[in-house]
């Protein structure tokens, strides 16, 4: 029986359920010390002086360090002249930037001493918004930047002005895709132990090899003496890819103090120090005909990078412009983008990273076309879809080629699950009754780019390469170790990769152990991000397993005196095709593989071990259709989600239970962006959302039950046919929710509202219109 496709319960669960997981802050090495950072309290200021005398004398303090105490260190990865140092030296550029660090015997002593460090600042003019940063007389964050606060500027290669002009109708929107905080429930933490044999760093990271490679270079030590371990990691959502200064400071502090040093971020620190996501402003113009056919599209993206240009942050608007046309065949598309620094927390990857922004805008545009033409939003989508027969489909940006999909099928399934026509009828009735809450129906036919990625794609974000690795090792008893370079933080790799290996090897899943997250045991790895786990790591496991079983068949055939090509591996044994009574157990074959006297000529002992680096010829393109039904309270503006339909096409599904979990979680974050969450600053760049009391994450009562559906088109670009599922919900959901609310407000003439759609914002829209 095939395990790929089966609802297998997770092997990760037992330890996590009984409190026996190992998260970084659970570690307590002997003679450990604790590091706590003094964070800058100004959005933009010159550091005049730092007085550490009182802190040094505080009980339990081992030492206090400022940038002046750590000279000659290289910058952290970034753009020349615009990169971060491990502690801010002369200038702080966002609230939360570390300027000094205390190491003490325990976390309470460290916190006490941090409060005693006196930093004198000379405030500098700050820019908190894109408008302020790009004003003519704006203060410049980096004198080294030749173009001021605008860091990259990519004008449109084509000009679609004539095509827009030729359309019967044109419409435009200015869309703000607000800044969000990823908020994994486990903040950043690390334990650095630099002993005589080198450094071991336990860290909350999605990409331990990526961190190891960069850290070893930065510390100028061989990679063999720099071991990074990601144990159980409590969520990431992109925020645990980044090179935070704390992860680089801790090893130095361990080396200097001769003690293991732990850092465990508080939530208040995490809200300003973990990099944020989104924060784009779009100017979009669309040209269309009476029949709703979209003829031309122009999208200009401005990306807020925060205070330091991060490699990923710089790439976000690139991905957005690639995906600008979504599921639609639009004859003329022009895109441009620019990136801008401001005195705010840096912006980098957050679940979807550049693709949710694209989907949100094109799906808002589809609804705007429907509104202006009076054609049903579902019909507008159908009239513009790329047909299933058109794949592979080359987009407006020639290197981006959609692999496969069936957008009509997904939308039809979504409408069926929504009971669309009945909902429309109910909407009409409610509109005629001014005591009934308004009803709105929103659709989102979304498409994303995932499975990062093709050679060259992750290199652009600073990674070593874009493959993912697998290594399969057979033990003498026939049990199996799968090593994967993909390091999880909740996705369920241990279960899913074992399912894939079990099918290929013919070994029971409970005899397969998956090892990840340790640079000393896993050959090489890239990490978990960009919906790439199953696509790249899963495919690597499949191919490496197939090679192992092929070699094992040679040994099994020798033991059975049969031909290797007649061997069948299943149920922990090798059988002979056509001879059901002849069988040798996997354990016997495994044992023989280490015993030269049992091996056929030409087969070396220890041959049942394979490694494979899965490269990808293209991205994968998960797609789907989401539908949302909302009711809007006429008196308060409160939005209630009455139904949320999620139809996904992620190609091959390895484990439907886990796939559903990924979709739910992603959709929850999408709904959160649509209705609740926004990182806010005051006009000077002081954060207003510094705790979870101010930053409104949805709780149980804020989210609906979901109705999940599925269509399947396989990706031709990997051996599994998988497309990736981790980011789908976050890509597709915001547009469905906002389209529903704007639809509910149609009687008020509302054509667009920016997220988050708080009761106040909705109430003002109704009131402003009446």
């Amino acid at each position: 029986m095939s395990l790929v496709g089966a609802r297998v319960l997770r092997t990760e669960d037992p330890r996590l359920l009984v409190g026996r997981g190992t998260f970084v802050d659970d570690l307590d090495p002997p003679h450990g010390a604790f590091a706590s950072f003094v964070s800058g309290s100004h959005p933009h200021a010159r550091v005049v002086s730092i007085d550490t005398a009182a802190a040094v004398r505080s009980p339990g303090v081992v030492g206090v360090w400022t940038a002046a105490d750590l000279p000659d260190l290289p910058d952290l990865p970034g753009l020349p002249g615009m990169s971060r140092t491990v502690l801010a030296a002369d200038v702080v550029r966002f609230v939360g930037e570390p300027v000094a660090v205390v190491v003490a015997d325990d976390r309470a002593a460290a916190a006490d001493a941090v409060a005693l460090v006196e930093v004198r600042y000379e405030p500098l003019p700050a820019v908190a918004t894109l408008a302020a940063a790009t004003a003519a007389d704006a203060p410049v964050l980096f004198p080294a930047s030749p173009t001021g606060n605008v860091i990259t500027d990519a004008p449109a290669e084509s000009d679609v002005a004539a095509e827009l002009e030729a359309c019967a109708h044109r419409a435009s929107l200015r869309i703000v895709n607000q800044r969000c905080a990823p908020v994994p429930i486990e903040p950043t933490a690390c334990v650095a132990d630099w002993g005589p044999d080198g450094l071991v760093l336990w860290a909350t990271t999605q990409a331990p090899h990526h961190l190891r490679n960069t850290l070893a270079t930065w510390l100028d030590v061989p990679q063999t003496r720099c071991r990074v371990i990601a144990p159980d990691v409590g969520g990431g959502f992109g925020a645990k890819i980044n090179f935070y200064p704390e992860l680089f400071a801790a090893p130095l502090l361990s080396r200097m103090t001769g003690r293991p040093v732990k850092f465990a971020q508080t939530r208040a620190e995490a809200m300003t120090q973990m990099y944020h996501g989104r924060d784009q402003v779009h100017e979009v113009e669309v040209g269309f005909d009476d029949d709703g056919a979209i003829r031309a599209l122009r999208l200009d993206v401005t990306q807020n990078l925060g205070a330091y240009p991060d490699n990923t942050g710089l790439g976000l608007p690139v991905l957005t412009t690639w995906m600008a046309a979504g599921c639609y065949r639009i004859p003329a598309v022009a895109t441009s983008y620019r990136t801008v620094v401001t005195n705010t927390t840096p912006v980098a990857a957050y679940r979807g990273a550049g693709r949710p922004e694209a989907t949100y805008t094109i799906e808002r545009v589809a609804d705007l076309v429907a509104r202006r033409t009076g054609i049903d939003p579902a019909e507008v989508r159908r009239r513009n879809f790329i047909p299933a027969s058109a794949f592979p489909f080359t987009t407006h940006n020639a290197p981006v080629v959609y692999d496969s999909g069936d957008f009509h099928l997904a939308l039809a399934e979504c409408l069926r699950l929504l009971d669309y026509d009945a909902r429309r009828a109910e909407q009409g009735q409610r509109r005629r009754d001014d005591r009934a809450p308004l009803l709105g129906i929103g659709l989102s036919s979304w498409l994303e780019l995932a499975g990062f990625g093709p050679n060259g794609s992750l290199e652009g974000f600073g990674h070593l390469a874009s493959w993912e690795s697998a290594q399969i090792r057979i033990q003498p008893d026939g049990s199996v170790i799968v090593f994967s370079g993909s390091s999880p933080h909740g996705q369920g790799h241990e279960t899913v990769l074992a399912q894939i290996a079990a099918d290929e090897l013919g070994v029971s899943a409970d005899r397969i152990s998956v090892r990840m997250g340790d640079t000393s045991t896993v050959l090489q790895g890239i990490g978990t991000m960009g919906s790439r786990g199953v696509v790249t790591a899963g495919s690597a496991v499949k191919v490496a397993s197939a090679r192992v079983v092929s070699q094992a068949k040679v040994i099994a055939a020798h033991l059975l005196e049969a031909a290797p090509e007649d061997m069948v591996a299943a149920d922990d044994a090798f059988g002979v095709r056509g001879a059901p009574d002849r069988e040798v157990g996997w354990a016997e074959v495994a044992r023989a593989s280490f015993q030269p006297l049992s091996l056929p000529p030409g087969v070396a002992p220890g041959s049942l071990e394979e490694r494979f680096f899965q490269e990808s010829p293209n991205f994968s393109y998960p797609s789907g259709a989401y539908g949302c039904v909302v009711s809007v309270d006429r008196d308060t503006g409160a939005v209630t989600i009455e139904a949320m339909v999620l139809v996904d096409d992620c190609g091959t599904v390895v484990n439907p239970l886990l796939a559903e979990g990924q979709v739910h979680g992603g959709a929850a974050q999408g709904i959160a962006q649509a209705l609740f969450e926004e990182v806010r600053y005051d006009g000077d760049g002081h954060p207003l959302t510094g705790t979870l009391h101010d930053y409104v994450m949805p709780s149980t009562n804020d989210l609906p039950d979901f109705t999940a559906g599925r269509t399947v088109t396989l990706s031709p670009n990997n051996p599994l046919g998988a497309k990736g599922i981790g980011e789908s919900g976050a890509v597709g959901a915001p547009a469905a929710v906002v389209n529903a609310v704007v639809d509910a407000l149609a009687p008020f003439g509302v054509e667009h509202l920016d997220m988050p759609l708080t009761p106040e914002r909705v109430w003002r829209a109704m009131r402003g219109a009446s």
Binding site: G19, I185, G665, T691, M697
Partner: protein, 164 residues
């Protein structure tokens, strides 16, 4: 320093704490019961939820001295007939109520508390009872299903279930 005595998971402990030591830090750093997590420091996320005299509390918001003389149950103290797991823990396994697992101990303890007070909750009551516990991974529906699964085990023999 102040001496505190409390029963944790059925065992008596005596320890020295400062007046400001929170219960969660006492549990994690002195008793080394690291199953209880800290996620927000402000009694918002509920990752630190434990039972204090049978009632769920956020242990980042309780001082260790306030627990003096009282009975504490953490996730390590749950027992049950499902391979040693409590039916709530098993429900989270069966219905995929956890992904990264960081909020899970707090969620489980809040759900155990709910079922002690209300053995047959509706889905709405489950959502109401867990609204003080934040999860960033699941979107909550599968957590609700997990608690429902546990509640539906009432007819099965659970005599060896309890808290240590």
């Amino acid at each position: 320093m102040t001496t505190v005595r409390m029963t944790v998971n059925g065992r008596d402990y005596e320890g020295e704490v400062t007046p400001r030591t929170s219960l969660v830090h006492y549990l994690r750093e002195q008793l080394r019961l690291t199953g209880t997590h800290v996620g927000c420091d402000t009694a918002k996320c509920g990752a630190c939820t434990v039972l204090l005299d049978g009632q769920s509390v956020k242990s980042c918001n309780v001082l260790a001295v306030q627990a003096d003389g009282r009975d504490v149950t953490t996730v390590e103290g749950l027992t049950g007939p499902f391979g040693g797991r409590h039916r709530v823990q098993e429900g989270f396994h069966q219905e995929h109520g956890l992904q990264c697992g960081f909020c899970t101990p707090g969620m489980v303890m809040a759900a155990v508390s709910l079922l002690a007070e209300q053995p047959e909750p509706t889905d709405a009551e489950i959502r109401e009872a867990l609204q003080g516990n934040l999860c960033r991974c699941t979107g909550y529906e599968m957590i609700v299903r997990s608690v429902r699964w546990a509640a539906d085990q009432d007819d099965r023999p659970v005599r060896d279930e309890g808290t240590r």
